[in-house]
């Protein structure tokens, strides 16, 4: 079956946010019937470009053309009218509405009076054509990540989409779900859709895309290049700014393993003696039948880096909160250095040297409306208070904050400015300096490098490693498999609240992948 090919041209598009240039003279050509991957590291301008394509952002300069005709979007609706739909990374679904309601929400052809039976048949037809299975009448908050992904996809499909933009679509899926999703993407392209696939997972990109473009610092380093004969190595080099002179000549078609530059060449300290007593232990911890932890056993020793891998939303939050004392388990025990501290409350854990760096930097670990000094002493303000009235010693706090800002090279504000003025990377450095201060015995880090640029991520990793080298136990909870594989001595895999596997270096990647999908139990 052949379809007339439609072309979407991105012509010299630049986007400026004040001083910051997010996209600089970007040129791309996207065709229907193809999967076109757009790759680049964090902050390369991928998301900005996608927002321009989806009509969510107006470019400062440049034009978009459909079949050579310039178009300009005033809203996401305009883009949709031309058949361009975007599937956002965080889904943007209305949780309380059903899948079906979400699919038809905002659809141009939706009649004033809704005939739900008719709409259901309509969506069911689409499902059957793509061999999708989706419980249409369940509210979205009951759906799994994969089902949410399908919902957003169907939402785009019933809108007669010609160009479908997928922003890191596999980030929240298990390896197994991801594979099935990639097959679906291929099917869509053969049916004549143009798919724009944004990702930084190179093996995935090479397996699914017909063409690839590389963005770096907002510029197109590689445009519309065929993926035929392209090796991950050359693509990776391109992502970090070194375009190999002969991209075609690298004759290695097998997709090898790619490691983000921030994770390359890190010095892992030696693993501690497995017989040494653990700093912290969980024994049969249970936090609830639905979405909670079930019978979790866990141990971490001084100087050991233990990673907890798994797709996010499988009980990670409960895990870090139980281990840091914020959440009291409904069953099981928590021990610190052999002492039972179950249900003792976070202050006791803090006093015993347990530090926890939250994944949420903007509404948990810190807040945009707190000053840097307040953030820096968010937990230790009492230690800096002068008795008998517990008056804060603001001067000392300001002084020590200044020291920390200097030591960790935090830029973008002084001790009196608000956290909102810092970039994500700088804020994370500040939070890290807070948790590393004093003599921590155990540091729990949850998604420590999420959303950071290469430099900041690298800095975070190095700090974690040096803390481990100096004898601190590290618990790294992350949904980034590469990160956990590169940093951990011991790797636990969490799936639906249960520990699926525990393994030691060297790790068996396929086994870990299966455990993440809940397919294999035991070691």
């Amino acid at each position: 079956m052949t379809h007339p090919v439609t072309t979407l041209n991105v012509h010299g598009v630049s986007v400026h946010f004040g001083e910051v240039v997010a996209c600089d003279d970007v040129n791309l050509t996207l065709n229907t019937g193809e999967v076109h991957a757009v790759v680049g590291e964090n902050g390369a301008g991928k998301s900005t470009l996608m927002h321009v394509l989806a009509g969510a952002l107006r470019p400062t300069l440049g034009t978009l053309q459909v079949d050579g005709v310039p178009v300009s979007f005033r809203s996401a609706q305009d883009a949709q009218d031309l058949g361009i739909s975007m599937v956002y990374q965080n889904f943007r679904l209305v949780e309380r509405l059903t899948a079906l309601e979400n699919i038809v929400l905002g659809w141009k052809k939706l009649p004033r009076r809704l005939n739900w039976r008719h709409l259901e048949t309509l969506v069911k037809e689409q499902c059957e054509a793509l061999q999708l299975d989706l419980p249409l009448h369940r509210p979205v908050f009951e759906l799994s990540a994969g089902e949410k992904q399908k919902t957003t996809l169907l939402r785009a499909l019933i809108r007669e989409t010609r160009f479908l933009i997928l922003d890191e679509p596999t980030a929240v899926l298990t390896p197994h779900e991801a594979q099935r999703f990639l097959a679906l993407v291929n099917r869509l392209a053969t049916q004549g859709m143009g798919v724009i696939f944004v990702s930084h997972k190179l093996p995935e990109v090479l397996s699914v895309a017909n063409r690839v473009s590389v963005l770096r610092h907002g510029r197109t380093l590689l445009s519309n290049h065929s993926t035929q004969g392209l090796s991950p190595a050359s693509l990776a080099a391109c992502m970090v700014g070194e375009v190999p002179t002969e991209l075609h000549s690298t004759g290695d078609p097998s997709p090898g393993r790619m490691l983000s530059p921030s994770l390359q060449g890190l010095d892992l300290p030696e693993a501690p003696d497995p017989k040494s007593p653990p700093i912290a232990e969980l024994e049969g911890v249970f936090t609830g039948a639905e979405g909670g932890l079930r019978d979790v056993h866990f141990a971490v020793r001084a100087g050991e880096i233990v990673a907890l891998a798994g797709v996010s939303g499988n009980g990670q939050k409960d895990f870090v909160e139980v281990l840091s004392g914020l959440k009291r388990p409904q069953g099981g025990r928590v021990r610190l250095e052999g002492d039972d501290v179950t249900g003792k409350g976070p202050r006791v854990f803090q006093k015993r040297g347990v530090r926890y760096l939250s994944e949420d930097r903007y509404d948990e670990g810190a807040h945009p409306e707190l000053t840097l000094a307040e953030t820096s002493f968010l937990k230790d303000y009492r230690q800096r208070a002068r008795s008998p009235f517990h008056l804060l010693n603001r001067k000392l706090m300001a002084f020590e904050t200044k020291e920390r800002l200097r030591a960790f090279d935090v830029r973008g504000g002084n001790e009196n400015s608000l956290c909102g003025s810092l970039s994500g990377g700088n804020l994370q450095k500040l939070l890290l300096s807070r948790e590393l201060a004093g003599t921590p015995k155990l540091i729990i880090v949850h998604e420590p490098a999420q959303g950071l640029d290469l430099h900041a991520a690298r800095f975070v990793y190095e700090q974690i490693l040096s803390a481990a080298a100096s004898g601190c136990g590290i618990v790294l909870v992350s949904s980034d498999l590469e990160e956990t594989l590169a940093l951990a001595h011991t790797l636990y895999v969490l799936y639906r609240g249960k520990i699926m596997s525990v393994s030691q270096r060297p790790f068996q990647r396929p086994a870990v992948g299966r455990a993440m999908a809940g397919l294999e139990e035991g070691v």
Binding site: A56, S75, A76, Q77, Q80, M86, Y88, R92, L93, V94, E95, R96, L97, E101, V104, L105, G106, K108, L110, P111, R112, R113, L114, W116, R155
Partner: protein, 309 residues
Amino acid sequence: MNASFMENLLSAGVERSLPLFYAATGETLSELSGVLNLGQEGIMLASAMTAVAVSHTTGSAMAGLMAGMAMGGAMALLHALLTVTLRADQVVAGLSLVFVGTGIASVGGAGLVALRQGVPHFEPWAIPLLSDIPFLGNVLFNQVPLVYAAYLMIPTIHWWLGHTRAGLNLRAVGENPAAASAMGLSVTRLRYLYVVVGGVLTGLGGASLSLAITPGWSDGLSNGQGWIAIGLVIVGGWRPWGVALAAFFFGTLQRLTLDLQGSQSEFLDSPLVGLFLRMAPYLGAIVVLVLVTRFKKRLGAPEGLGKPA
């Protein structure tokens, strides 16, 4: 207690719940779109006063009703301006509306107090046939026309929320404005619309107070009913039927305490009992509020409530 006492009580309870019902339904629409409007008490007062003023001047209760609704809409528009466009805190904006409404009512109503009940107002109108049904006929179908409008409104809003495009859009915009916006809905426009529609309904509630329940104007006429209405939205679970039942329950409770105070029994005449009867509606509201928040797992509050777009 005999049947005629029950009949009278329920009949008066239906009437009494009218302002609560309209205000709570208005608040429900506003909150479903994601905007908390704490100004109900002020809106009710201002619109009750306006309704009396216009009804008196024009000699038409209908004109008074319209004017009361317009006043409610206008005040809600101010709320939308503050919270949607100027992104003010919804709580404080609502409180400012209480001041403004109370002030307008009190200043504008200064000359109306003397009118007492000599204002054109709505009288009960028995629906032929239906009102002949024993017991229920008198309770449900021998009421002011505003009650019948409420009967029609409940199923209409219920149907409209679940079975129309506009209803779907409304539910989406209050739950997740970002997602709704990404789907091409205008959060700003929808919120303006429903905050104002909600205000019009609250205005209707205020007008029903001064044109039907206790005709005429006196300062502080609503006596906290606007606040109770906000509580009823929680109790009713943000659903039209739930809100209507909650309003009926409270209206009857209010009526019951009034009836008991007026009855000729020695026990009920004692001041201490009278005190508790007068406190009962407010204490009852608190107790129900606590029970609802305590025992319901998912409250049903729109996720986007209180958050700017």
